[in-house]
């Protein structure tokens, strides 16, 4: 054979620069291969704790993000009307002066008139620090419309939740059940985990109305009716409790199941009985006496009651038995509403019981608990759970998230081998979290962080006359435990002047005039609304983004950000770190290339704005600025003495971790180490973390806690009971009458399920959902040249039954309406879908003129948003009130509660999805026709 000779060992690159991906929220480690100073190829970093070398489609397509034609090039000042996209380019001096001109007076006189909200920001510990020092109570990131129910439900119940807070024990679990996880969520870790457990032949159960992505590979698919996950979970709890398939030893030791609940009528009713030190009391099985829960040697009794003053005080576990053994939770009672046959509910419960108890595992690892008892083994119940927005983004989502955690805890499978494991800085009880702060202090910083976890009515952010202190009405009686704020209400409330008017709206990476808002068209109108004298209702809007997104057109001043390969960042333990269950870890981004445009990293711009205003916290006593840019802040800021944004390579010689003096060479040390730092949890400290003295001591050494913080899992939530007590008339701080009953109903201290508010939904019977595909993530990047070839279209997926009922064929058009609006869009049949649910990919639809796409791009012609059908408010109830379409506990945006009606429609005359919007003027033009991106020779 005459075979050509080829070079099988070509040079791969001149240099590999290791940094952190930003194509989604996973924050994987990447190797950026450089040729001639340009990015040639991106692959996963094998040493990195998050992705261990693998990389998803988004990560590998980062090169198309860095060369994207939609990148903003220079600061912009609006010249046309808002929403037109007409700008002039300005110099940075003018941009900064303009911003300072708007902001400085607010800082000194009325800081609440600045609303500063960041979207998919990965520097929240820094942006919140900035806002805190500005003095405005109006700061949050996007958690309120993303997954606050998941985070808050987990923290209030067990001191941590899924994703950044914890993960299944992929190495030991034998049954993995995931609820409501969209394809894009926790991208690589979940795929790696599924791969691991499938290689062992372990079972995966997927609970999701849509059988795509992770649910497509699940061994068993439960195509549940949206919004009924809580009902299903409580039924599993019912069956398991009734069969005694619960871990009584675990419940008695590590949860508040044995804690005595005050049964005396009055202001303490339903609160825990406590000793003189304020410690919750349990009956000690040894002495039969009420005893502090954490006394050495105490054996808490799950069953014993306590008689005092003629009143029988019962433990939490009795209240749970009363509630969950009730036949209203039996599989037959819930099957129809859940869309799951009762037999399948029982089969799943039985399989959970079998694996948890018959396949229990033991690790030969000694450990000592917080009561001083040493255990010779670690017992594992190898059933693990994971869940996300699908159960979270409903108005009953908080309770559903709590219910799922209660299920895990009843099985004794949290923080044990094979179960769910926390990742540092979690576990962390509510008591170790801040309370919210929202006082207005002109010229001075807030007294503490904006966001926190209220313990009761005293922590609500209300002024003297009971009005909301925050523009989004977070931490009010409307949604008392809104731990992440309500970003989805900011523009709506600001436009309505309810609770007050603001002067400047400042946003970062939040596409509010398009896919990141409910009621998109309404939001565009709010952003462009004018007063009688012709001025905008929201006078000034500043926006920072790296790309020409739809939101750019609605701002007055654009501060162009860099791409993720051109900037410094820190993925910090103070914020949303990249820890694993057996290690604390953090990471940096650093400029592996320099921008070829006149753009600046947003966080460095914030430092400069702070310096120009001499914001406290950013300014030394002599008036000089503390930091010149974000990199300087990352290295030199100390939150507490010895604790800064990065935990690794601290101290003069870089040999300290967690706590240590500032190390001026810290960023270089991170770069040498591949862009990240890992501190391993010692053997024997890596399970039972909330109660394990070895973990608690390690965490104190790392600076995660200031002192050991052992605690009990809160099956019964005392903070919720405190809000309920207020609604029953106890205490000085009373809810308004119109909310009293709702608070009584929804602040139940044990998880419940309730049907969400259906008023106005008559005739709208089909559930409508969205998710993002695995190869894309929201819209914080651009519509990438490679990825848009995978997902450039988003038909409405309609189940077979509804296709037949409405005489629809693939490619036909349907009018989809809700009580709020209608859209006309192309449809496609999908069989592997809940019978009464339609869905589409979110944020594939783009507005003409955005993202440097041509106006005839399918994203702009056929693509559409379901957001037009979802209002941020519930339909009016005739009481003159504006009722948020949000969870009444946390304010989580309830966009998955959407109900629609489907009708076959004639194709629109221009064959474009409806509604259509006029084209924006693109500040960056459109992309090139053809691409052949090879940077090497």
């Amino acid at each position: 054979m005459n075979q050509p000779k080829i070079d099988t060992s070509p040079k791969v690159s001149d240099e590999v620069r290791k940094t952190t991906c930003y194509m989604c929220a996973c924050r994987c480690g990447i190797n950026v291969h450089m040729k001639d100073g340009k990015v040639a190829y991106i692959e996963g970093n094998r040493d990195h704790p998050v992705n261990k070398g693998v990389l998803c489609a988004k990560g590998s397509a980062g090169i198309m993000q860095v060369n994207a034609p939609s990148r903003l090039r220079k600061p912009l000042r609006r010249v046309g009307p808002r929403g037109s996209g007409e700008f002039r380019e300005i110099e940075w001096d003018e941009a900064i002066s303009t911003a300072v001109g708007w902001l400085n007076e607010l800082h000194e006189t009325a800081p609440q008139k600045l609303a500063f909200f960041t979207g998919r920001d990965q520097s929240q510990s820094f942006t919140s620090f900035w806002a805190q020092n500005f003095g405005t109570p109006n700061y949050a990131a996007h958690g309120g419309f993303c997954s606050v129910n998941m985070a808050a439900g987990g923290i209030y119940t067990m001191g941590g939740a899924f994703w950044e807070f914890g993960q299944p024990d992929w190495d030991h679990t034998k049954l993995f059940m995931l609820f409501g996880v969209a394809e894009d969520h926790d991208s690589n870790p979940i795929k790696m985990g599924l791969g691991k457990i499938k290689a062992r032949g372990a079972r995966v159960i997927g609970v999701n109305p849509i059988r795509s992505g992770y649910n497509a590979v699940a061994d068993d698919w439960v195509g549940i009716t949206p919004g009924t996950d809580g009902l299903f979970i409580l039924s599993l709890i019912h069956v398991l409790m009734k069969a005694g398939k619960i871990d009584l030893d675990y419940l008695s030791r590590y949860t508040n199941a044995p804690v005595l609940v005050n049964a005396s009528d009055g202001p303490e009713k339903g609160l825990f009985l406590r000793d003189a030190d304020g410690k919750p009391l349990v009956i000690d099985r040894v002495t039969g006496e009420p005893t502090a829960f954490d006394k050495p040697g105490v054996r808490p009794d799950l069953s014993a009651t306590y008689e005092k003053g003629g009143v029988t005080h019962r433990p939490v576990f009795h209240l749970m038995a009363d509630k969950y053994l009730n036949d209203e939770h039996a599989p037959d009672a819930v099957a129809e509403r859940c869309g799951i046959p009762a037999k399948r509910i029982r089969a799943i419960a039985a399989e959970i019981a079998r694996v948890a108890f018959d396949e229990a595992i033991e690790l030969d690892q000694e450990w000592t608990d917080f009561r001083g008892e040493t255990h010779s083994k670690m017992i594992g119940r190898p059933v693990s759970f994971h869940a996300m927005r699908g159960i979270s983004a409903h108005a009953n989502g908080f309770h559903t998230c709590r219910a799922l955690h209660v299920l895990q805890i009843l099985l004794g499978t949290v923080e044990v081998p094979g179960g769910f494991r926390f990742k540092p800085p979690y576990p962390k009880p509510v008591e170790a979290h801040p309370t919210p702060h929202g006082d207005r202090r002109p010229g001075r910083p807030l007294e503490g962080p904006h966001l926190g976890f209220p313990r009761g009515p005293a922590d609500l952010l209300l002024d003297e006359i009971g009005n909301a202190q925050r523009i989004d009405k977070a931490f009010t009686w409307e949604n008392p435990m809104s731990a992440h704020g309500l970003m989805h209400m900011v523009i709506s409330n600001a436009a309505a002047g309810d609770p007050y008017k603001i002067d400047t709206l400042f946003m970062y990476m939040a596409n509010m005039s398009w896919n990141s808002s409910m009621n998109t068209k309404g939001v565009m109108e709010m952003l462009t609304a004018k007063t009688e004298d012709g001025k905008y209702v929201i006078p000034n809007i500043i926006y920072s983004d790296a790309y020409s997104s739809e939101m750019v057109a609605y701002a007055d001043l654009i501060l162009p950000d860099t791409t993720y390969l051109e900037r410094h960042d820190c993925i910090s333990l103070l914020d949303r770190p990249i820890c694993e269950a057996d290690a604390a870890a953090d990471a940096i981004r650093w400029p592996v290339i320099e921008p070829d445009r006149d753009v600046r990293g947003f966080q460095s711009v914030l430092v400069e704005l702070a310096n120009r205003m001499s914001l406290p916290g950013f300014t030394n006593e002599d008036g000089s600025p503390k930091w010149k840019d974000y990199a300087d802040y990352i290295v030199n800021h100390q939150r507490k003495p010895g604790i800064g944004p990065l935990a690794g390579f601290r101290g003069e010689n870089g040999d300290k971790e967690g706590r240590g003096e500032v190390n001026p060479d810290q960023l270089n040390r991170y770069i040498e180490n591949g862009g990240f730092y890992v501190a391993h949890i010692p053997d024997g400290a890596d399970y039972y973390k909330p109660w394990n003295t070895a973990y608690q001591d390690w965490a104190v050494g790392m600076g995660i806690y200031d002192s050991p913080q052992p605690y009990l899992f809160q099956l019964y939530s005392e903070p919720m009971r405190k809000f309920q007590l207020a609604a029953e008339g106890h205490g000085d701080r009373q809810p308004p009458e119109n909310l009293r009953q709702r608070i009584k109903d929804t602040m139940d201290p044990l998880p419940i399920w309730y049907e969400t508010d259906q008023q106005g939904n008559e005739g709208f019977t089909i559930n409508a959902l969205t998710q993002r595909p695995m190869a894309m993530y929201h819209s914080w990047g651009t519509q990438n040249a490679w990825l848009r070839q995978l997902h450039g279209r988003n038909p409405l997926y309609v189940p077979t039954k509804l296709m037949r009922k409405h005489d629809l064929q693939d490619g036909d058009w349907a009018k989809v309406s809700s009580p709020h609006g209608e859209i006309t869009v192309p449809v496609m049949e999908m069989a592997a879908l809940n019978d009464n649910t339609v869905w589409t990919w979110n944020a594939i639809g783009k507005r003409k003129g955005a993202w440097a796409l041509q106006n005839d791009a399918p994203e702009a012609t056929k693509g559409f948003l379901l957001n037009h059908l979802i209002h941020e408010l519930l339909p009016p109830k005739g009481d003159g009130m504006r009722w948020a379409n949000s969870d009444p506990v946390t304010g989580q945006a309830a966009w998955f509660d959407l109900k629609v009606k489907l009708e076959k429609a004639a194709p629109p005359s221009d064959a474009e999805s409806q509604p259509e919007f006029n084209a924006l003027e693109s500040p960056v033009g459109t992309g090139p026709k053809d691409l052949a991106w090879k940077v090497g020779k």
Binding site: M1, Q3, I6, S9, P10, V12, H33, Y41, G44, R46, V54, L55, C56, G59, S60, A61, S187, K191, M192, L194, K198, R211, G213, A216, V217, D219, D220, W221, V239, K242, A243, G244, K245, L248, S252, D301, S303, H318, K343, R344, A347, A349, A350, R354, D358, M774, A775, Q783, A785, W786, Q789, A832, L853, D856, A857, K929, D930, L931, A932, W933
Partner: protein, 255 residues
């Protein structure tokens, strides 16, 4: 016409696990990135930001809905979604090679990889027509035929650490659904995996003898079948909350 070798020393190829592939397209884009920068002409994209974006890809993932037939045990089985990655299968009897009029397409003697020598390719497209799998794509910018090279410029590349000498799609696959090795060696890990999981040829009736293998999805939606075995696990300990509490007392005594 071009000749195939009588036999090859090794049969390097991929084993793709359809039970585990979540359809994330990581392999598709990693392949696009590596092969744009490396072997031969870059993989170009036409109308990259316009109405009909169309680029060259050496590996694509298709998703198929499958409706299992009803049985007595499962009268109304749920539909399933199968993700199906597809690239050149490096067939032993590769029709794309024998059809090539210039000898540009060839199968390597040492490892069985089917390659296109781009300098001899006239872009006639006969090979793409001959391939029953649709695994070849003519690059519209360069006018030459592109196909999976099994990352021939990675798997022997001494500039890469040994652990990285695998195709980029295998290195990047987050779910670990892609495996690489010598399918001619019955003792190789990939051959053992194929034996253990009953790996299959794609369209064997075409007589192309593909080297790549697919591991079929495991049976799904069987949990209710176990209920009779599992039912005793759910035997109630009590019908009433009161009975539950006395069970509790008794059980706690034993702890």
């Amino acid at each position: 016409m071009t000749q195939l070798p009588q036999s090859t020393e090794r049969k390097m190829g991929l084993v793709i696990d359809l039970d585990t592939c979540v359809g994330c397209h990581a392999c598709v884009i990693s392949c696009k990135g590596w092969n744009t920068e490396n072997y031969g002409a870059p993989l170009s994209d036409q109308d990259a930001y316009g109405a009909n974006p169309s680029g060259t890809f050496l590996n694509r993932v298709h998703s198929y809905e499958v409706q299992p037939a009803p049985t007595d045990a499962h009268p109304a089985p749920a539909a399933q979604l199968i993700h199906f990655p597809k690239s050149c299968l490096h067939c032993e009897d590769a029709p794309c090679v024998t059809v090539c009029p210039t000898g540009a397409s060839y199968k390597r003697v040492e490892d069985g990889i089917v390659l296109v020598n781009e300098s001899d390719c006239i872009g006639c497209g006969l090979c793409a027509w001959a391939c029953p799998y649709g695994a070849r794509e003519l690059d519209a910018a360069e006018g030459v035929m592109k196909k999976c090279t099994l990352c021939v410029d990675r798997i022997y590349n001494e500039n890469l650490p040994e652990v990285d000498r695998v195709p980029s799609c295998v290195r990047t696959c987050p779910a670990g659904a892609r495996h690489f090795g010598d399918l001619g060696d019955p003792d190789s890990d990939v051959s053992k995996l194929v034996a253990q999981r009953e790996g299959m040829d794609l369209m064997p009736e075409m007589g192309t003898k593909p080297v790549n293998k697919y591991l079929p999805p495991r049976p799904k939606d069987q949990i209710e079948d176990q209920i009779d075995i599992l039912a005793p696990l759910l035997a109630p300990i009590a019908e009433e909350p009161k009975g539950f509490l006395s069970w509790l007392d008794k059980t706690l005594e034993k702890l």
